[in-house]
Symmetry: C2
Subunit: 255 residues, 2 copies
DNA sequence: TGTAATTTGTTCGTATGTATA
DNA sequence: CTATACATACGAACAAATTAC
């Protein structure tokens, strides 16, 4: 007998899975576009030749994946949704919890993303995109006196502007997701900080420097400043033991 | 009337969603660990006070999220699974298709991940982890004569070793995911390349240089070489129009 | 080895509340 | 406001699969 035939164990394919695949395929191929409606459950039952329960299980899975939404009583049928990073965020959040990602690793990854985004922004950003960064900085200046919440909001706007200017959808989405997880872990600590005003002023200055590097089209400097800025802002909330992870991304890790 | 009360529209919460939440919570809190079993569908029906259909819809969603697996006839009940990046990969793949991510953006992101991984590996890797990289390189050397498939496998092993040595789970998982998407898009093109042998030899030399920089603990050099290596390997498959995205990550983008 | 018991996979019927026209 | 079609949810039934004895 040939002993090295590549035979894999066969697992039964359930009916609802084939329904999910069919609908997913239609969406992937663009035959079903956001806003369009799927036939009603009863019609799907008839067209697919499976029971209502099977159709429903498939719809629940697709719904939880953010592919569509079905509402009770809507005679137009389930609605195909536009893509949203919600599923990615869910998966990422689970990864963070189940894999027990430390704050250190999350901040490290943010440094990585923001650094790359700043590099790309310096080299590729349009004047309009640079204008959006400038507007966000002005908003931050105004917000210093209005407290941490307002400042944080403007800060997010700045980083979003940079991420958009990077031209990379992946960087944009992942920045959004990772920031959400990080802020969820420590927002209250920063808000409660007694010298949060000093923190904001320092952070604002760092952001100005990044913007300056972007304006001068100096990608490497923008990237370096972005890393240093995040390190300065978050390092104190990261446990001592994990700080080497952050420092390893700085140009001079032993300084 | 107060006009600025933050009132959001309430959307009905369906029964199966509350079941999903309960079980997801138990897994998140570590009260249900991988390998453990959930009660049977009928017992869940009784304990949760909902019908079996509702329980099943919840189980299907959890199954599609990779949280558990239920097999027909298994009297021990659904099994809690260890975390796997499968969901992340699924979400990422959908993002790539639906957001119409070009090959350029995907390769760009790989450059970014591999660059960071190499930098971190140079600064943090243990001798054992460096040994794994060396072993992968030797495997690549052997594989040059055995064709693209074998070479690609060894190549993957090298990048995995680097990603592991980076100490970052996020880098590790995302490298795996993005590589899967990229290879899915162009593996056949490389395999069919007439001068694939030359390509392999060049790539092998680049990998040796990265390893050398890691051995010498030169993070910045390792990162730069990693970017250049990926650029050299993939650039020709990336449409002309998207290549500036890749070059923007090189130290000298105009060269 | 084979068989019995239990579980999941799937279907069908029904009652109820809801959104749309 | 009403009629209609819809989704939600329940429960019973049978087939197929798995385990354990």
């Amino acid at each position: 007998m040939a002993d090295d035939l590549q035979l894999k164990p066969v697992q039964p394919v359930r009916a609802y899975e084939r329904v999910v695949e069919q609908i997913e395929d239609l969406v992937m191929r663009g035959q079903l576009k956001p806003g369009q409606r799927l036939p009603s459950e009863r019609e799907l039952t008839a067209r697919l030749g499976v029971s209502r329960s099977t159709v429903r299980e498939a719809l629940r899975v697709l719904e939880s994946d953010g592919v569509l939404r079905s509402r009770a009583g809507d005679p137009r049928g389930p609605e195909i949704l536009p893509f949203s990073p919600a599923t990615l965020r869910k998966a990422m959040t689970r990864l963070a919890r189940v894999a027990e990602l430390g704050l250190g690793e999350l901040v490290q990854f943010r440094m990585l993303l923001d650094s790359a985004a700043s590099m790309l922004a310096a080299r590729l950003a349009t004047q309009e995109q640079i204008g959006a960064m400038e507007a966000a900085i002005e908003e931050m200046e105004d917000a210093v006196d209005r407290g941490y919440a307002a400042f944080s909001e403007a800060d997010v706007a700045f980083h979003d502007a940079v991420a958009r200017a990077s031209g990379s959808t992946l960087i944009q989405v992942l920045t959004d997701v990772v920031r959400g997880v990080v802020l969820g872990l420590i927002a209250h600590k920063i808000a409660d900080s007694p010298d949060s005003r000093t923190l904001m002023a320092t952070s604002l200055q760092h952001h100005r420097e990044v913007l300056d590097a972007v304006r001068q089209r100096d990608g490497q400097r923008a990237a370096r400043l972005a890393r240093e800025s995040l390190y300065a802002y978050y390092a104190e909330y990261v446990p001592e033991a994990e700080r080497p992870l952050l420092r390893a991304l700085l140009d001079d890790p032993d300084a």
